[in-house]
Subunit: 134 residues, 2 copies
């Protein structure tokens, strides 16, 4: 698949407002968007940090993917999102290359983006998201 680069880094946090304040204070982060995705059980804030993007994710409950991650590993990097301009082609390529896909077809992610997740076992422990960008 053709990757444009890292779209964002997804970071699981226990307190969204505290984490936003930390990233603003230490690294001059600027809030880009806020969103909630009920189907995934997360509240999120997208930050610009220089020309990069950090997505802070707070679970809306314990029995959610990010809630279980927090309980098991504590706060920290949750996933890496790679930008592509052809998400359907990317998923075909990944499938052909033998990568285990969590999402066989793109679904609607935060901020209305089309996304799909690749299983961390396929990427040496890195939960990897593919994000469609124009």
């Amino acid at each position: 698949m053709h990757v444009r680069g890292i779209h964002h880094l997804g970071v699981a946090v226990a307190d969204l407002d505290e984490a936003v304040e930390t990233w603003q204070r230490l690294f001059g982060a600027i809030v880009e968007h806020r969103d909630s995705l009920e189907s995934q059980g997360v509240d999120a804030v997208s930050l610009r940090v220089g020309d990069s993007r950090i997505e802070l994710l707070m679970p809306s409950g314990e029995d959610t993917p990010v809630g279980r991650f927090l309980a098991r590993r504590g706060p920290g990097v949750h996933h890496v999102a790679l930008a592509t301009d052809d998400i359907n082609g990317a998923l075909r390529d990944l499938d052909a290359a033998g990568a285990q896909l969590i999402d066989q077809i793109p679904r609607r992610g935060l901020y209305g983006l089309e996304v799909a997740f690749v299983h961390p076992d396929a990427v040496h422990g890195v939960l990897t998201e593919v994000v469609s960008t124009d």
Copy 2:
């Protein structure tokens, strides 16, 4: 501090050659550099993935920072490196902002870069490296 953006994402792996092959095959990664840092006990490969950079880190022994990380958490994202054009100013700003620094002064990292680490407790569980770039 002024951050230019994410310089690289450091990923701990158990087998460097296998991980390089995976990132090449799935995401079209291109090998940029290979290096070893005896003082840190790591062998590393720097990959370009689109306009971003992934740094794969394999420990040279169990009793090394990355070796202990692997034993405790398994392979996965180890740290996030942020680029700055003034690392000494960045460390002063971080110290003034109350961030716990692992390195009070910059040290020589992989590929001859000047780097310093901020304690993960200061960044909600994210081990953060500051990297000096021109």
